[in-house]
């Protein structure tokens, strides 16, 4: 028996903040005091609050320590583990709390969250099936094994669960199609090819609670009459793949995978397929081709995978987060409980990856129907460095931007679609006034353009032509008719592309034109990028009145383009300046201005 469990976040976010070194130091300190055997040290799943990593949570004390450094460990062990006192210095502190906060319930980042899918992440040891079972795991499977397949489909349908991967199709209905499809051999495929830049919730589930996915797939298997599953996971997630392999091994050992599972007439074999780096493989028919060892190119539907799927057999394809919800729904009384949260058309919770220029970056799970404002300001703690909110990008390369006046919008499938964005996989990238919307549209389009598989002409050629126009606009060579051309190209691609990737890739362009048309026009007609991103379209100037001559900017400049005496106003030599932006990040007086090209004459006025 252990006295305490010490959960150190071992997910990618905290690892890059140095959680490995922290764990090593902690281990050494515990050894030094000879109390190592009393404590269980777990490199656990992600508690979500990446911003303040590395994080350690101690149970049963329920203390949340953050922003840890290896050198803090001596004090932590001495004071907390030996002395039994909380180390106040290492608790969460921020502008949103009055006093250092001790646990989840007193940290504002967590207060509006509701943990369904992330219920175990950071709480259990992801490499221990026992801990998953102790938290109620595999109860839904046991119940499902005693139910009729169609009854399971109906229950999931009645709970109102919709696909969390993008399009939001009702999961129970999808299962029903596969269940009704004829044939003895069927498959369940889990789409863990989380390719949307800006989304990492699936990775967190795979790394933090892999058994919830396995259980979800097993229940799906029973509901659809399938006896084999594939988890198609990105090769970029090595830790997730490792944890999945461990989970599968343990489940096999416990008789939860294999033949006659739990003594019932139900068999299931689980396979892992590693993706090889192709965004389009997130599209279901492309994913199927990839599992079969082919180039991952989509094909027209129908036939839908529920009829003709992997190796030509009926197949259900669900995303990780969708499947991780299943154990909660199918357990005794779970469906009603699940449907209590959310809105009429969107039930349950959704996990969002909050990133960009927001103070609290990380992963959060919130009830459907919460407003964007609540997510960004209450959970996210507002905009970094006190700058102004400009827009939030939802749904990745298939999604769109939501501007300031729609902050009150509730987050559900239908409201987001109406606003020109999509729920997508749940990436929320927050942008401030220093983000150029034209550049952002160009960024997404160059991503989809590169990832276009080239099978259909609208996507292959259309995205290329759109990108050429955006390139010209950001280089200061836009023409007044460009916006109409973009609009017409975008609609043609939407109407005629073969797959989801092609049909949705114009969305970022359309939504930025819809809400930030004036910014495009400023680029085209006035040759000015007021966010200071498109290099040929602005210059830096130093406001002589507010510059106190601290020399921080001059020291940061890699090309010596800033001149000036100490304590005297500095000046940018335009001929040398490469507009790299190093200076503006260093200036504490906020006196480096982004101004129009050719406005040098105005300096000092």
């Amino acid at each position: 028996m252990y006295e305490k469990h010490i959960m150190i976040c071992g997910a990618t976010g905290c690892l890059s903040s140095g959680s490995n070194q922290v764990a090593e130091a902690l281990n050494e300190e515990l050894e030094k005091h000879g109390i190592k055997d009393k404590y269980r040290l777990v490199m656990g799943g992600c508690p979500g609050f990446c911003e303040v990593g590395p994080i350690i949570v101690i149970f049963p004390d329920e203390v949340f320590y953050c922003r840890l450094k290896p050198k803090d460990m001596a004090e932590l062990v001495e004071t907390h583990f030996v002395g039994g006192e909380i180390v106040e210095r290492l608790l969460y502190k921020g502008p949103d709390v009055d006093a250092p906060a001790r646990f989840y319930d007193s940290i504002p980042f967590y207060s509006k969250q509701k943990f369904n899918v992330l219920r175990n992440s950071g709480v259990i040891d992801p490499e221990s099936i026992d801990e998953y079972i102790m938290r109620g795991g595999y109860r839904a499977l046991k119940r499902a094994l005693e139910m009729e397949p169609q009854a399971i489909c109906d229950e999931v349908k009645d709970a109102g669960l919709r696909g969390r991967g993008g399009a939001g199709f009702p999961t129970g209905v999808k299962w029903g199609f596969t269940n009704k499809a004829p044939g003895p051999k069927k498959y369940i495929v889990c789409n863990a090819d989380e390719g949307d830049p800006g989304a990492f919730m699936d990775r967190s589930i795979l790394e933090g609670d892999p058994h919830s996915l396995l259980e979800g797939m097993l229940v799906a298997g029973k509901a659809c009459g399938a006896d084999e599953g594939y988890i198609y996971c990105r090769a970029e997630y090595p830790l997730a793949i490792k944890r999945l392999r461990i989970a599968i091994e343990q489940a096999e050992e416990y008789g939860l995978l294999g033949e006659n599972i739990l003594g019932y007439d139900f068999n299931f074999k689980m396979n892992i397929k590693e993706g090889a780096g192709a965004f389009v493989c997130g599209e279901e028919t492309a994913l199927l081709a990839s599992i079969e060892g082919k180039r991952g190119m989509p094909r027209p539907r129908p036939p839908f995978p529920a009829q003709v799927g992997v190796f030509g057999k009926p197949t259900t394809i669900n995303n990780v987060e969708t499947l991780a919800n299943i154990p909660l729904i199918v357990k005794e009384g779970g469906a009603e409980e699940f449907a209590k949260v959310g809105t009429e058309g969107s039930k349950g919770t959704k996990v969002f990856a909050l990133a960009g220029k927001v103070r609290n970056t990380g992963l959060c799970e919130v009830p459907m129907g919460i407003t964007i404002e609540e997510v960004i300001y209450d959970v996210g703690g507002g905009i970094k460095a006190g700058r102004d909110f400009k827009a939030v990008q939802a749904g990745g390369p298939s999604g769109g931007c939501i501007p300031k006046d729609l902050l009150h919008l509730p987050i559900d499938y239908d409201s987001l679609t109406k606003a020109g964005a999509i729920m997508g996989s749940g990436g929320l990238v927050v942008m401030d006034d220093r983000t150029c919307m034209v550049d952002l549209a160009k960024y997404f389009l160059s991503f989809t353009q590169k990832e276009s598989c080239g099978k259909c002409t609208p996507c292959r050629e259309g995205t290329k032509r759109m990108l050429e126009i955006l390139d010209r606009i950001t280089e200061g060579e836009g023409k007044p008719e460009d916006l109409d051309t973009l609009d017409s190209l975008a609609h043609s691609i939407k109407d005629s592309a073969l797959c989801g990737l092609g049909q949705t890739c114009p969305n970022p362009v359309l939504s930025t034109i819809r809400y930030f048309r004036d910014e495009y026009e400023e680029h085209i007609n006035e040759g000015f990028c007021n966010a200071g991103i498109c290099k040929p379209l602005f210059i830096y100037q130093i406001d002589a009145e507010s510059c106190n001559g601290c020399t921080a900017c001059a020291r940061a400049c890699p090309v010596d383009a800033i001149k000036g005496e100490k304590k005297e106003p500095h000046e940018v030599i335009q001929e040398l300046c490469t507009r790299c932006g190093s200076c503006i990040d260093k200036c504490r007086q906020d006196c480096i201005m982004i101004t129009r090209v050719g406005s040098e004459a105005d300096v000092g006025n």
Binding site: D196, G356, L363, S582
Partner: protein
């Protein structure tokens, strides 16, 4: 490693016996071609042409089709790569937090464009769609080590720490 001749010279001395043991469990299973090539690449660091030809022959797949599959996926590399693979995240969060400047700085320091390898085969510079550490943007991975919250001026020190 830019010229074709150099690549060809490296390819000549390839020992193909490891491919045999990789192929062993998969013979006759054409759908396993992607995992096979992943293992071949794990072993050699890239896909040498003689290994491709050998796999095609043993698996009874036309070389053209194998080539089609391997060039479709970004993970597969046809040229030798460095000991350290630098992956610059080009995800959305990283983009708006300045990853283009990070990439520029590394290109400058190593004097190679993205996608290339330094002459001493030490570093290969690549771009990757998203490593999923968005909260720490901008991020790079060097082999399996993530480095987060970067700025251009930190890059020299980080690269220097790899021997």
């Amino acid at each position: 490693m830019s010229s074709e001749a150099e690549v060809a010279a490296v390819n000549q001395d390839i020992d193909l016996s490891p491919v045999d043991s990789i192929l062993e469990p998969y013979l006759g299973k054409k759908e396993m071609i992607i995992p096979i090539m992943q293992k071949v690449q794990d072993h050699y660091g890239y896909l040498p042409r003689p290994a491709m030809e050998y796999v095609a022959r043993r698996m009874r797949i036309p070389l053209s089709r194998l080539y089609g599959v391997t060039t479709f996926y970004a993970q597969f590399k046809m040229k030798p790569r460095g000991r350290y693979i630098i992956r610059v995240c080009k995800g959305t969060a990283c983009h708006i937090q300045g990853s283009p400047k990070i990439a520029e700085r590394i290109e400058e320091l190593l004097d190679i464009p993205s996608g290339e390898t330094t002459d001493d085969l030490k570093f290969t510079l690549e771009e990757v769609a998203c490593i999923g550490a968005c909260a720490l943007a901008p991020v790079i991975m060097i082999n399996d080590n993530p480095h987060g919250r970067l700025s251009p001026d930190k890059m020299k020190e980080i690269l220097d720490s790899y021997e």
